[in-house]
């Protein structure tokens, strides 16, 4: 089985963990390795978790604490029984000789392990994310070896994870150099108003594009035009009466619920004040 049609889907948690492990590495290590946990299903490897494994690399041999890895895997199984070992990860941007040794070990742990590299050394100015599997090559009966072949990597996440990621990404914007930027979980209304501002700016962009096309400053693109048409038609078609009815009914419900809940709150506070009055 060549396994060449495997894709790897990575959850954001895994990458956060990898970066954190790299930041906490021992002073004398250049790279960090660890185990990938997840599940395999029909040619897609979904990586949902990972942990770091202490290891030391010398010129010609690698020492990794395999019992540690087994222990952590067992402990994790107690929390989540669905996660199996699906491969291993390493920081750095290339696959070294040591990698094949480590890969052999992981091949004993699971079927066709996946190797993920996260380039924390930022060569070529980006943090590259690559995945490999090991393909046997050579002449049968003669010398065989294995080659690390790249396979496609995608990002996937549960819905709450997407929301969390969107909030966390606010720290990426430029901040004063000596103070890292922090962000707090937002109140609901603030989030809506932010989304409204973002919508407005996106609409401005689209309007500018359309104006440019009309003024012949930009060549029109049919695909974009079709999508714009879809966008406009996606607004549901409602008569004025239908809309006002729906709008008023919803607003009435919401206002009534708000009034009731505030009434309950006030009554609770009143009750509280009464219990604190000194008894006659």
């Amino acid at each position: 089985m060549s396994g060449l049609n495997l894709t790897v889907r990575v959850h954001p948690v895994v990458l956060f963990q990898v970066v954190d492990a790299f930041e906490r590495r021992n002073a004398d290590s250049h790279r960090v390795i660890g185990t990938l946990l997840g599940s395999v299903d029909k040619g897609v490897v979904e990586v949902t978790n990972c942990f770091c494994v202490p290891h030391k690399e010398h010129d010609d041999q690698v020492e990794a604490e395999l019992s540690y890895a087994l222990d952590m895997y067992d402990l994790n199984r107690k929390v989540n029984a669905n996660e199996n070992v699906v491969g291993w990860w390493a920081t750095g941007n290339e696959v070294t000789n040591h990698s094949s040794v480590i890969h052999e070990y992981y091949a004993r742990e699971c079927n066709n392990p996946v190797h993920l590299t996260v380039d924390t050394s930022l060569q070529s100015g980006r943090m590259g994310l690559r995945a490999y599997i090991c393909i046997q090559l050579g002449v049968p009966g003669g010398k065989t070896g294995c080659m690390f072949t790249p396979i496609p990597v995608e990002l996937t996440s549960y819905e709450p994870e997407t929301f969390g990621l969107k909030l966390l990404q606010k720290t990426v914007t430029v901040s004063p150099a000596h103070r890292p930027k922090t962000v707090a979980p937002m109140l609901d209304l603030a989030q809506i108003s932010e989304a409204a501002t973002k919508l407005q700016s996106l609409l401005d962009l689209i309007l500018k594009y359309v104006d440019d096309v009309i003024a012949h400053k930009v060549t029109p693109d049919n695909a974009v035009g079709r999508q714009l048409l879809d966008l406009i038609h996606s607004v549901p078609h409602m008569t004025h009466e239908q809309f006002t009815q729906m709008f008023n009914a919803n607003v009435r419900d919401l206002l009534m619920v708000i009034t009731l809940s505030q009434l309950i709150k006030t009554q609770l506070q009143l009750n509280e004040k009464l219990t604190f009055l000194p008894t006659a």
Binding site: V19, L168, P185, I264
Partner: protein
């Protein structure tokens, strides 16, 4: 609401207060993942928070989940110690600074939470409990709140005395059981680089579910929980009223018996016989046990948080409705033309 909690924390006059909690992105993502995976079961997801204390700030740098309580093969303490020892090998902060719990529809303030947080806060001075609201976060609003017990609440719990007098003397109300501490999230520069890479990989059209207009199901859930809590509070109030009535009746009977005794004694002294001491009569009326007010206070606190959640939900739904109104107006003016 977060500001009010912050002011409470700062106005306290104990030395070791935590003004705010700083959470690493890694801990946030791990909490989200664990709570989301456990949300399909009915159990609460719980785990430990690891980090360190810096001045008035509690930094949370990592976390790990607890196994489900049904699995008895390993003692919970053993599990925690083993995991923490393993994490220490890879240089993760191993100071246990608190715990986190998932909550459904905001009914997080329970007796169990109070007890656990009391145990944590007595053993580790600065611990917090972080509550993650699964329902709200799956709708698109990430909801993480950190709570600590106020010193008065700790004092009351230590005494084990939940009578109304204790509540009055310590001035503990349902609002001053827990103090909410503001949370901020911080990421290291390398993590920021990683996230800008992720930004390109992440599809652009995901993550906008919070603009959904459907309000009925959420409102129904909230109202149902609110009604249940109010019923509970009503039961507590009825119990307390009954107790007060019994005490009143007992008092009047005691007065009547004492008056009778005084009259009897007057008769006896006139006849020259020893008087019956008052203690004997009083002994007949044993004082009624005062009902504990703890559950009532907790229920009031729950109702309060429910009301706050509902207010927040309604405010953002109203905002979304008004946005659609402007869209509809634009569409209508276009059609009229």
């Amino acid at each position: 609401m977060a500001n009010r909690g912050g002011r409470h924390a700062r106005n306290e006059d104990s030395e070791n207060t935590i003004n705010y909690v700083q959470c690493d992105g890694l801990a946030v993502m791990k909490m989200i993942k664990h709570c989301h995976e456990e949300s399909s079961n009915m159990d609460l997801a719980q785990g430990a928070l690891l980090g360190l204390v810096v001045d008035k700030c509690l930094e949370i740098t990592n976390c790990f989940p607890f196994p489900k309580s049904g699995d008895e093969t390993m003692d919970e303490e053993m599990y925690q110690l083993t995991v923490m020892r393993r994490l220490r090998r890879v240089n993760v902060d191993h100071l246990h600074v608190g715990w986190y719990q998932s909550s459904d529809v905001g009914n997080s303030l329970s007796l169990a939470l109070l007890e656990s947080q009391y145990h944590y806060q007595t053993s580790i001075e600065e611990s917090v409990v972080v509550v993650y609201d699964t329902q709200k976060s799956s709708r698109g609003f990430l909801c993480l709140k950190a709570y600590r017990l106020t010193p008065q609440a700790i004092q009351m719990y230590k005494d084990g005395d939940f009578t109304p007098e204790a509540f009055r003397t310590l001035k503990v109300g349902y609002e001053s059981l827990f103090a909410e501490i503001p949370i901020v999230i911080k990421n290291s520069p390398l993590t920021n680089i990683m996230m800008s890479e992720l930004n390109e990989l992440l599809p652009e059209d995901k993550g906008h579910n919070f603009l959904d207009l459907g309000t009925a199901s959420v409102l129904e859930n909230h109202m149902r929980s609110l009604i249940e809590r109010v019923d509970e509070l009503y039961q507590e109030a009825v119990r307390y009223n009954k107790y007060q009535q019994v005490v009143f009746k007992q008092d009047t009977e005691k007065h009547r018996a004492l008056a009778k005794l005084a009259a009897e004694n007057a008769v006896r002294t006139s006849k020259g016989e020893p008087t019956v001491p008052e203690e004997e009569v009083i002994k007949q009326f044993r004082p009624m046990p005062v009902p504990a007010r703890l559950t009532a206070t907790i229920t009031s606190g729950q109702i309060n948080t429910h009301a706050q959640h509902i207010a927040q939900f309604c405010s953002q739904s109203l905002a979304k409705l008004f946005i659609t109104e402007s869209l509809q107006n634009a569409k209508e003016t276009k059609e009229i033309k």
